[in-house]
Symmetry: C2
C-alpha cells in the first residue's frame, strides 16, 4: 500500500473494514516481528498477553504526547512517545518489555506522515528490544483535534523499582547531559519565532545508558521532562523532605541554548528535556557512575551538579556564582505549550 | 477545593506547580485507597509498580475514548473509558487489576465536569476492585481539541487468556443482552437529531457477569463495540476461518432501538454496544452458561443467537426469517462518528 497523498478518513477510526485495513497494513507489519507473549499485536484481539516474569517488579507508565510541530528538529511525535515512555521505565530501573499505543488522528492527516511517525516509534522500540502489543485508533473531525495525539503505555520489569523519593543526606546529584535542548529546539522551531538555529531536540531512549549504573549505588532517578530540571529537582526534594543544593555553573548547557534563553527570557532549567536523567547517588559511587555514563554517547556530558543536604528541607537552592545563592523554585508550568 | 466554575488552564497540563495541584487535589484522592503494588498513584512517580502474580497470564489492553456528547443518556466518558477497558480484559478472561489513564483536556473545560468524569471512572474501578496506578494529563488550546479525550490502559490477570479466535464447528454463539443500545442512545442524543426517547446507553463493566462462566466451557469472547455485533462476529469468523450462522429473530432488541433503526435507516447490528459480550461456547454448556448469565442483572436477556458451522468459512450468515438468508457483512465503519 502506497500511502503517499492518502489521507485519514473518519472510517479509519470507525471499527469496521477500513480501520481493520489501516491496522493490518500500516501498524501490524512494523511491529509484528517482536512479541511479548502468546497473544500479540498480530492477533488483533481485545487485548494482548505479556509473559509473566519469574522475578522482579512489574512497572507501568503512561504518557500522552501532543507536541507541536509533529516533526521537529531532532525527532517527531513518534520518537518522542516511544522514548518518553521508555525513559519513564528506565528511571524506575525497569527494562522496557511491552507497549500499547493510543492514536488520535485528525481527519485529513496524511497517511505518509503517520507512516513516518510509526517508523520512528518502531525504531525506538527495536533499540530497546521491546514489543508493541496493542493499541487503539480514533479519528476526529478536522476542527475537533489538531493533527495527531499519541498516548503510549509501557510495561517493564525491574529487579527492584527505583523511586524518585529516596534522597539521603550526603548523596550526590548528577545529570546525564546538557539541559534544555528539547524545549529550546521546539521553541526555536515554532512558527511564531522561526529562529534559524542548529539546535536539535535531545529526544532519545535512555535504557542502555542507565541499565549499567543501576547496581552501582543509584538511590533515586527522574527524567526532567515538562517543567524541566527545576520541576524534577523540586519534586524530588519535596518528596524526600531533603534539600537539593546545586551549582549553576556545573549544569551542562549548550551555547545555543544559553543564547536562546537570554534572547527569550526563558530559563533553560524550566523547559523540557527528552533524553536526560537526574540521578541521586551514593557519593562513594559518583566517580564510577560518572565514568560509566560518560562511556555512553548519550552520557558524554554527564556531570555532578550538586548534593543533598538538610539546609532547607523540600527546597532546591542554587549557587549562582561569586557567592550568590537563590532558591530554584518549581515553575508554575512549562513556558512552552505543547512542548511534548 | 471547590471546582465549580473553575476551568482548565494551559498550566494544568504544563508539568509545574499548577498541574501538580490538579493531580494532587482532583485525581489522587479519588483513587488512592486502592493500590496494586509498592509504588502507587499517590507516589506520583514516573511510573508505578504492580505486584507480580504468582500464576496466570498478564493481559493488557488500551482504549481511547472521544465520545460526543461527553455526558450522554446512561453514562459519561469516564464510565465509558473504565467499562470499555474492563470489558476488553473481561472478554480475554482476565480479572482487572490496575489501570492508567491519559487525559487530554481542552483549555476552558469545566473542572466540575472533570470531577464528575473522574467520579464515574472511579466508580467502575471500585466495582471491579481495581486500582488506578498512573496516568498523564495534557491540556491543549481551545480549537486544538474538542472537550476531553481519555486513553485508558488496563492490566489484568487470567488463568489462561481467552482469545477471540477459537471458534469450533458446532459451538453455540451467545449474546449477553440487547443489541445497539449504546449506539442508538448516542445517536438520539446528538444535537442534529435531538430525539426524545427513553433509550440509555448500556455502558457497564462486565467482569462480574463473565467471571462465573469462564470455567464452564467458553471457547472465545469479544465485546461488540465499534462496528457493533456485525463487526465482532465477522472478526471472529475470519480469524477462525469458521462460518457463523445467526438467526435475526433471536437477537434481543429493545423496541426503541428497533424503532430508531427503522427511522434512521441504520442497522442496530452495526452500532456500538458498551455493556455486552459475544460468547462462543461448547454446545454442551450452553444451558448452564445461559442460566448463569441470566442470574446477573446485566445478563438477564442473554440468548443463544446462532452457531458455528463450516458452510462459508470466514463469513457470517443471517437467517432473516421465513426462509430468507443473507450475509451479514463487516460494516465499513460505525455509522455514528465519536460513538465511543
Amino acid at each position: 500500500m502506497s500511502a503517499a497523498q492518502v489521507r485519514v478518513s473518519s472510517l479509519h477510526g470507525a471499527g469496521g473494514e477500513v480501520m481493520d485495513d489501516l491496522i493490518r497494513s500500516l501498524i501490524v507489519p512494523r511491529f509484528a516481528a517482536r512479541s511479548a507473549g502468546r497473544i500479540g499485536l498480530s492477533a488483533m484481539d481485545d487485548g494482548a498477553t505479556i509473559e509473566r516474569p519469574a522475578t522482579g517488579e512489574l512497572v507501568v507508565t503512561t504518557d500522552c504526547h501532543v507536541v507541536k510541530p509533529v516533526f521537529f528538529p531532532g525527532g517527531d511525535i513518534g520518537r518522542l512517545a516511544a522514548a518518553g515512555t521508555v525513559n519513564d521505565l528506565a528511571v524506575m530501573g525497569a527494562r522496557p518489555v511491552a507497549f500499547t499505543l493510543g492514536i488520535i488522528l485528525e481527519e485529513g492527516f496524511a497517511l505518509e506522515d503517520l507512516e513516518k511517525i510509526l517508523d520512528s516509534f518502531a525504531e525506538v522500540l527495536a533499540e530497546v528490544d521491546a514489543s508493541l502489543v496493542g493499541g487503539d485508533t480514533k479519528v476526529m473531525a478536522s476542527g475537533d483535534v489538531d493533527g495527531i495525539i499519541l498516548c503510549a503505555t509501557g510495561f517493564g520489569i525491574a529487579d527492584r523499582a527505583v523511586s524518585d523519593a529516596e534522597l539521603w543526606e550526603g548523596d550526590d546529584v548528577l545529570i546525564t547531559g546538557t539541559v534544555g535542548d528539547h524545549g529550546m529546539a521546539l521553541l526555536a522551531a515554532r512558527e511564531e519565532f522561526r529562529l534559524s538555529t542548529r539546535l536539535v531536540s535531545d529526544v532519545a531512549p535512555l535504557w542502555s545508558l542507565l541499565k549499567p549504573v543501576l547496581p552501582m549505588g543509584v538511590h533515586a532517578m527522574k527524567d526532567p521532562t515538562r517543567g524541566g530540571l527545576a520541576a524534577a529537582l523540586n519534586e524530588m526534594a519535596r518528596k524526600s523532605e531533603a534539600c537539593v543544593e546545586i551549582d549553576e555553573a556545573s549544569i551542562p548547557l549548550r551555547a545555543e541554548v544559553a543564547g536562546l534563553s537570554d534572547l527569550l527570557g526563558i530559563s533553560p532549567l524550566d523547559v523540557a528535556n527528552e533524553g536526560k536523567a537526574v540521578l541521586v547517588v551514593d557519593p562513594q559511587a559518583t566517580g564510577a557512575i560518572l565514568a560509566a555514563l560518560a562511556a555512553h554517547p548519550r552520557g558524554a556530558q554527564a556531570r555532578r551538579i550538586g548534593k543533598v543536604t538538610r539546609r532547607y528541607p523540600g527546597r532546591v537552592v542554587m549557587d549562582t556564582g561569586i557567592g550568590g545563592e537563590r532558591f530554584l523554585d518549581m515553575p508554575l508550568g512549562d513556558p512552552v505549550p505543547r512542548i511534548c
